[in-house]
C-alpha cells in the first residue's frame, strides 16, 4: 500500500484515535504510521488544537443576568422577604 493510500485509510480513524476509541490493534497500527508520517502527525496535532480552542471559547458558567432571568421565568427564586 502506498503511503498516501495508508494515510487516506487511517484518516478515517484519526478521530476515534483522538477519543481513545480504537481497538488495540488498530491503535498500534495508527501509532506506527504516525511515527513515520509527518503529515498525519501534523493533521492530528491541528485537530487536537482545533478542539481545544473551541472548548476554550465557550463560557463555563451561565452569565449571571441569564441565570437571574431563567430563575424568574421558572419561578425558582424564593419570594423576597426583605
Amino acid at each position: 500500500m502506498s503511503p498516501d493510500a495508508h494515510c487516506e485509510q487511517l484518516l478515517h480513524r484519526i478521530c476515534e484515535y483522538m477519543d481513545g476509541e480504537l481497538d488495540a490493534g488498530t491503535c498500534a497500527e495508527l501509532e506506527a504510521h504516525l511515527a513515520e508520517c509527518e503529515d498525519c502527525r501534523a493533521l492530528l496535532d491541528s485537530l487536537r488544537k482545533t478542539v481545544s480552542l473551541y472548548r476554550r471559547c465557550v463560557p463555563d458558567d451561565l452569565p449571571p443576568d441569564v441565570r437571574a432571568r431563567l430563575h424568574a421565568a421558572l419561578n425558582l427564586d424564593p419570594p423576597d422577604g426583605g
Partner: protein, 194 residues
C-alpha cells in the same frame, strides 16, 4: 448528577428545591449548546427557558429509559433545531446539508496559536471560530457541540439525537475536519501539513 434516581423521584413529586438543583446543574450546558447552535445570545436564552419549562411540564412522563441529562439535551437540541428550521427551513438531523457561503476573514498574520492552552484568544480568532461553527452544517454542528464541547460520550449523543453511534462518529469526524480547515491559518502549521 450524583444521585439521579433520588433527584428524579423528588422531581416527580414536584419538589421545587430538586427542580432548582436540576436547573442549576444543567442550565450552563444547555445554554452553551443553544448558543453554539444558534449563535445568538438572546435566542439561546429563549431556548434555555423553553427547555426547562418543557422539563417541568413533562418530567412526569419521563420514563428514565435514557439519562436525565440525555433527555434534557434532546429537548434543548430539538428546540434549537426548530428555531433554525423556522429561520431557514433547511436543517435536518438526518441529511446534513452542505455548508452555505463560507465566512471570509483574512488572517491578520499576527495571530499564532501554536499552543492553544497558552495563547490568549484574540477577538479576531473568536470571530473566526464563531463564524466557522456557524458555517458548519447543523447536523454536524450539534454533534460537535455535544461531543467535543460538552464532552458527552458518543453513545449518549447518539441516543439524544436518535442516531447510530457510527453516524455520530462519522459526523464528528467531518465536523472536526471542517472546523480545522477553517481555523488552519490560525494554527501553527507543521511542515507538510495537509
Amino acid at each position: 448528577m450524583p444521585d439521579e434516581a433520588a433527584l428524579l423521584e423528588k422531581l416527580r413529586k414536584g419538589d421545587a428545591a430538586a427542580y432548582r438543583e436540576l436547573v442549576d446543574a444543567y442550565s450552563p450546558r444547555v445554554y452553551r449548546l443553544a448558543l453554539g447552535m444558534l449563535g445568538d445570545p438572546a435566542e439561546a436564552e429563549d431556548v434555555l427557558q423553553e427547555t426547562f419549562l418543557s422539563v417541568y411540564r413533562n418530567i412526569g412522563g419521563f420514563r428514565g429509559d435514557s439519562g436525565l441529562g440525555t433527555w434534557i439535551y434532546r429537548i434543548a437540541a430539538n428546540a434549537s433545531l426548530m428555531r433554525l428550521r423556522r429561520h431557514r427551513d433547511t436543517a435536518s438531523l438526518d441529511e446534513p446539508m452542505d455548508g452555505g457561503a463560507e465566512p471570509k476573514i483574512a488572517p491578520s498574520g499576527g495571530v499564532s496559536l501554536g499552543d492553544p492552552e497558552e495563547a490568549a484568544l484574540s477577538a479576531e480568532v473568536r470571530q473566526v471560530m464563531t463564524q466557522a461553527i456557524s458555517a458548519l452544517p447543523e447536523a454536524l454542528r450539534i454533534v460537535f457541540l455535544m461531543r467535543d464541547v460538552e464532552d458527552m460520550p458518543a453513545a449518549e449523543v447518539a441516543e439524544a439525537l436518535g442516531l447510530s453511534v457510527a453516524a455520530v462518529k462519522s459526523r464528528l469526524h467531518r465536523a472536526r475536519m471542517f472546523l480545522r480547515d477553517r481555523l488552519q491559518p490560525y494554527l501553527v502549521a507543521g511542515e507538510g501539513m495537509t
